[in-house]
Symmetry: C2
Subunit: 213 residues, 2 copies
C-alpha cells in the first residue's frame, strides 16, 4: 500500500444536518492515510440546521482534486440545489474523485450536479419521491454502491456508509478497527428507525412535516 494521502472533502452548506457529516467524518478521519477538509463556498463559518456552527478549512475554489467527497443532507437541501458554486463544484470534481458520496438528502445535490444520471441511489426515507423526481432510480436500501458513487439513507446511515467505504478502500480490518474504536455496537432503544417499522401515523406525520420544510 502506498503512503499517498487521500484528500477527503466534507462539504458544508447552510442548514445541512451536522450528524450527516460528522458520522462519516469520524469514521473516515480515523484512517491514518486520509486527510479531511471542510469545504464551503467561502471560509465564513457555516451553521447547520440545528445550530452547530462549523469552520471551513478550504473553499470550492481551492480544493479541486479531492479523492473522496461526502455531501450531507439537511433542511437546507432545497436552497443548496440552487447554489451554483456548490452544484458546479460537485459536477467539476466528480470525474476525478475515487468516490463521490452522499448522506440523506445530499443525494439530491448529487442528482442536480448530474452525478446520478443513470444510477441508483438512496436518500432519507421521507424524500424518496423528491429524488425520483430528479430522474434517479431510488433504492430503499440503507447504503447503495453504484460504481464510484455511494449514497446513504437518512442521517445516521452515514456511519454505516462510511464503514463500508473504508472496508472497500482500506480493507475490512481497518473498518473493523474503526468500528471498535467508535464502540459502534448500537443498541437503539426503539425499533422505529425505518418507515417499515414505525407506527403508520408517525410515518405519515413526519413525511408531511419534512416535505413542508
Amino acid at each position: 500500500m502506498t503512503e499517498q494521502k487521500t484528500d477527503i472533502a466534507f462539504v458544508l452548506y447552510e442548514n445541512m444536518t451536522a450528524l450527516d457529516l460528522v458520522g462519516p467524518y469520524e469514521v473516515l478521519s480515523a484512517v491514518p492515510s486520509a486527510t479531511g477538509h471542510f469545504v464551503a463556498a467561502t471560509r465564513e463559518p457555516v451553521r447547520a440546521d440545528n445550530g452547530l456552527t462549523v469552520q471551513p478549512t478550504t473553499t470550492f475554489a481551492e480544493l479541486t482534486r479531492p479523492g473522496i467527497v461526502v455531501v450531507p443532507g439537511g433542511s437546507g437541501w432545497r436552497n443548496a440545489l440552487e447554489a451554483r458554486d456548490l452544484i458546479g463544484w460537485l459536477a467539476a470534481v466528480h470525474p476525478t474523485t475515487s468516490w463521490t458520496t452522499s448522506v440523506c438528502t445530499g443525494s439530491t445535490l448529487l442528482a442536480k450536479a448530474g452525478v446520478l444520471a443513470g444510477r441508483t441511489a438512496t436518500t432519507h426515507w421521507a424524500c424518496r419521491d423528491v429524488l425520483a423526481g430528479l430522474g434517479v432510480e431510488v433504492s430503499t436500501d440503507r447504503v447503495v454502491f453504484d460504481g464510484d458513487v455511494v449514497s446513504a439513507a437518512g442521517v445516521s446511515a452515514g456511519i454505516d456508509m462510511a464503514l463500508r467505504l473504508v472496508a472497500r478502500v482500506w480493507g475490512e480490518e481497518a473498518a473493523q478497527r474503526i468500528t471498535l474504536g467508535l464502540e459502534y455496537d448500537p443498541q437503539p432503544p426503539f425499533d422505529t428507525g425505518s418507515p417499515d417499522k414505525a407506527p403508520a401515523e408517525m410515518v405519515t406525520a413526519l413525511h408531511a412535516a419534512v416535505n413542508a420544510l
Copy 2:
C-alpha cells in the same frame, strides 16, 4: 406539559471527539422544547480531535443554569481534567441540572468534578480502568442511568444515551419520532463494536494505542 424551554449545554473543549457531541446534539435538538447551547471557556472556535472546528455560542461564565449538560470525550480528556474552568463549571452547575450526562471519556471529567462520587458510570471500553482509578464504580453497559447522571460508552453510544434520555424526559413517543427522523435503524457492516466481539489482538492493540495518547 408546560412550554418552558430546557437549556441543554453541549460542552466544548480542545480535542474532544466531535461525534461524542454531535450524536446527542442531533437527537436532543430535535426536541421542540429544547434549546441547545455550545459552551466553552471562551468564544474562540474549538478544534475537535480529528480537525472539525466548532463555534461556541456561550461561555462557562454566562451559562450558569443549564437543565441538561452533555460532556463529550475525546483524546483531549487528560488535558481537560486539568482545566479548572471546565471542571469547576461542571461541579457548579450539576446541583441544579435535571440531568448531567457524558459520552465516552467525558465521564472522567464528571468524576474529576465530583459528580460521580458514590455512583456507577460507563466510559469508552479502553478507559474503564482510568474511570475506576478515579473512584467510580464502572459498568460495562452501553448506557447507565444513576439518579440524575447518565453516562454512555464510547463515541457512538451517545446516540443511544440521548434517545433514552428523551424517552425519560419527553416520553417514548418523542424518542420514537426522533429515531424515525434520524432513520436510526443501524446496520453495522462489522460486528466488532465491542471488546467482547472484536478479535482479541485488535482489542489489545487498540487499548494500548488509546492509553498511549
